[in-house]
Every structure is written in C-alpha cells, then in structure tokens.
C-alpha cells in the first residue's frame, strides 16, 4: 500500500529539525530509519501530513567511547554491530544487534528510532533498562536527560514531548565484576521478541551487589522485574539462587496472549529466558 500524501523536509541540523517540529506541531512526525514508521504509514495506521527526515543530520550518527558509551540516536543497527571498539566495551549491545530483524532492517533501523517508538516487543528498551542507560533529548526549551527507567511509559508511548528529539543514548561501561546479557525467543516471521530478557549483574567477590532484569515482548512495555532482582541481590549468585529468582520473573506483570503465544506460555518463557539471561550475565561477570 501507499502512504497518504505528506510534505517532506530533510533538515541538516538538530536546530532546524526542532524549528520545523515547532512550526508543524502535531501534524509532523520525525523519520529515522523508517522501519517502524513507514510500514505503519503504508497500512495507514499512521498518516502524518509532514515528515521531518533526520537522515541528513550527521551530528546524530556515530559511537563515542570516552568513559561511557555514547551512541547518536540515528546510528543504525548495522553501524553499532560493526563497531569494533563497542564489541570490547559493551559486548551485550553488539550481540543484541545481531538478533534484531534482518540484514536490511539493521541497515536502516536506528537505536534512537527503536527507543522513541517503544514497540512492546522491541529488544532495545529492555537492554537500556537493564544497563541503566540515559537518553539525551533536545527540545525548543533546551536539553534534558531522561533515565531509561523513566522513559517507557506505556505501549508505544515514551516520556518524550511531541516537540522533542532524542539525540543520544549513553550506557555506563561494564567493568570487572560486571556482566550483562540479552536473550530472546524471536517470532519466527517478524523476528520481534515473543519474550526477551535483559539481565545485568555486578558482583562483590562472590556476592551479587547489583542486579537489574528487564522483560520485553510479554506486556505493553518493557519492564524491570523488582521481585526477581531483590531475590538475587546480596545472595551468592550461584545456579540455585538464579533458578529461584527466575521463578519470580513476570510476577505482578500483566502478560499478554495472542495468536502466536498464549499468556501462560509467555509467562513460562519469561521465567526460562530470565534464567538463561542471568546465567549468561553471571558467566560474563565472573570473566
């Protein structure tokens, strides 16, 4: 199908993009990789009358590794996956990218677009929650920083105001004694997560000092798992305590069922994938 007609702008700076957003207001949509927005426009689930394409803004692309890992919002999955330094600094991100969509989706789709879209089955929201990433935003009123924990507010809904642009995502680097993993059960046709779990662990000697677990695909948005996290924190972080904590994942969460996976099945898979992700994160943390 063909999208409804719209006017097209391709600004070359964030300032110009913000000015256009201010001028067109609700009629306008930002276009990043287009791999969530254009399919929705083809099906006429979205029909913006103005598109503001961010692809000509070079300042929004690229990876910098100075202390933290900073990734421009318009950096494609492919560019993230091919970045050699990133494979060292944050291997979990490079590995997650390989699980997203397919080669062509990764060549166009962007990290910023995926987070701003906040698809309930997308991979990156869970990872940013588990890694405690911060999202950097520019608006006409100035700039602000939003913690990943405050960013995903509902299905396809974020803390971004309509006149704001997500410009960069910062991840704290992983040091000795820290480990993270993201694992998912992909939908066989779309590759989106039927269930995806991101886990982060920080050890203090043999003890688990910090634990963050986030689940995607199962509910209306990616969510942390406080019960399972608390069960693991302060404990020995061995196979037994991981197995026990995993049974608490998904508790207190509204889990969706659909044609492909029932609520019961998803609930079971949340526990299975939590266990696997924690086990992989622990192995990395132990080095």
């Amino acid at each position: 199908m063909i999208p409804r007609p719209f006017a097209y702008h391709a600004p070359t700076s964030v300032a110009e993009a913000l000015r256009l957003l201010g001028a067109y207001g609700d009629e306008a949509k930002l276009l990043a990789g287009g791999h969530s927005l254009l399919p929705a426009m083809k099906l006429r689930l979205a029909a913006p009358s103005v598109l503001i394409d961010l692809n000509q803004i070079a300042a929004l692309r690229g990876v910098t590794l100075h202390g933290s890992v900073a990734i421009g919002s318009m950096t494609t999955w492919a560019a993230i996956g091919q970045h050699a330094g990133l494979r060292q600094a944050l291997p979990v991100l490079s590995a997650t990218v390989q699980l997203i969509g397919d080669l062509q989706v990764r060549n166009r789709g962007t990290l910023g677009g995926a987070l701003a879209h906040a698809d309930p089955a997308a991979d990156a929201p869970a990872l940013t929650l588990a890694l405690a990433a911060t999202l950097h935003v520019h608006g006409l009123q100035g700039t602000r920083t939003i913690a990943a924990a405050d960013f995903f507010t509902d299905m396809l809904t974020t803390a971004l105001a309509p006149d704001e642009i997500l410009t960069a995502i910062k991840f704290p680097p992983l040091g000795a004694g820290e480990g993270a993993a993201y694992l998912k059960l992909p939908h066989p046709a779309s590759r989106y997560a039927v269930v995806g779990v991101a886990a982060y662990l920080k050890l203090d000697g043999p003890q688990v000092r910090v634990c963050r677990i986030a689940v995607t695909g199962a509910g209306t948005k990616a969510e942390r798992q406080p019960q399972a996290e608390q069960a693991l924190c302060g404990g020995p972080g061995d196979a037994e305590s991981i197995a026990a904590a995993s049974t608490l994942a998904g508790e207190g969460m509204d889990i969706l069922g659909d044609l492909y996976a029932s609520e019961l099945y998803r609930r079971a898979m949340v526990k299975v994938y939590t266990k696997r992700a924690l086990t992989a994160a622990l192995a990395e943390a132990r080095g």
Binding site: M1, G34, L38, N55, D102, V105, N107, A189
Partner: protein
C-alpha cells in the same frame, strides 16, 4: 512534488516524484525496472531488496525522495557485459528457484552478505538471508547456491562464522 537526481544501474537521471512514492514503486513504475518485486505490506518478505549506496535495503521501506544523490543497483544491474553475476549463475546451476518471485531480492541480499562475509558458513548464510522469504524452495538450494557463488568469487577464502 519533489525533484530527485540519482544513479540507477550506472545511469544518472532526474525525476519529479510525490514525496510518498516508495523507492520500489519509483523503480518499477517510473523506471520500468520490474525485476524488483513487491511481496508484502509489512516489510518482511525481502522480494524488494536493492542496493542503496552499496548496502542492501528493502525498497518498499525507503522513500524515493530519500535517495536524492544516491547510487542504486537493482537485479537488472548485476550482470556485467552480458555475463551473469556469479550469484545469478549459481542460483541457476543449483536450482535455487522455482517460481522465481523471491529470487531478485534473495540475490541482492546475498550479494550484500558476500561483501561483508566473503566466505560465510551455512549458518551465516541463513542468518544473512533472514529478511528474505521463499515459499517454494525450502531454502536448502538457496544456501547451496550462495555457498557456491562465494567459492567462485573468493576461491582462496576459508569458511568463517558470523
């Protein structure tokens, strides 16, 4: 309306298009390059894969106006001097197609894969072609054809994984 100047299969030309024109419709309907197919509404099938500035993209999920100044290669531009590209030759030799609907996208995706992984393992071939659906072949012969083209293109290389 928007103006668009781009190079398709080596030929530079300028066009006027509606901003909502998808690259795949532009190629098929404005340039009559109907080798690039449309197999779905959901950006999932890969029948429309072309190369945009050297990398594979789904032409149904890119706007033509986004390709101003770009270089595009479609399946029609792959053969050189009347000689089939090694992937085209190997798809024929290995029976990697039945109805042929998925073939142009499959070959363009495989060509991008072989640029990045000159001698991929079977697992890497399957991973690289995840965005291309085939309703006929069961994929086995497609993987074989890509493996065989890799050997023709890079006879010295050793199999690698992902």
């Amino acid at each position: 309306m928007a103006t668009l100047t781009l190079t398709v299969n080596g030929t530079l030309s300028t066009h006027t298009v509606e901003p909502r024109t998808l690259l795949v419709h532009f190629l098929r309907e404005h340039l009559n390059l109907t080798g690039t197919h449309i197999g779905c509404d959901t950006s999932q099938c890969g029948a429309c894969v072309v190369h945009l500035n050297g990398v594979s993209v789904k032409a149904c999920t890119v706007l033509a106006v986004q390709c101003d100044g770009a270089t595009i290669t479609t399946i029609e531009g792959l053969a050189q001097n009347g000689e089939l590209h090694p992937l085209q030759a190997s798809f024929r030799a290995e029976h990697a197609l039945q109805c042929g609907f998925c073939t142009p996208g499959m070959i363009m995706a495989a060509a991008d894969l072989l640029q990045q992984h000159p001698h991929p393992s079977d697992e890497a071939i399957r991973h690289g072609l995840q965005g291309n659906l085939c309703r006929c072949t069961g994929y086995e012969h497609i993987v074989r054809a890509v493996r065989s083209a890799a050997a023709t293109l890079n006879p010295q290389a050793k199999p690698e994984s992902l």
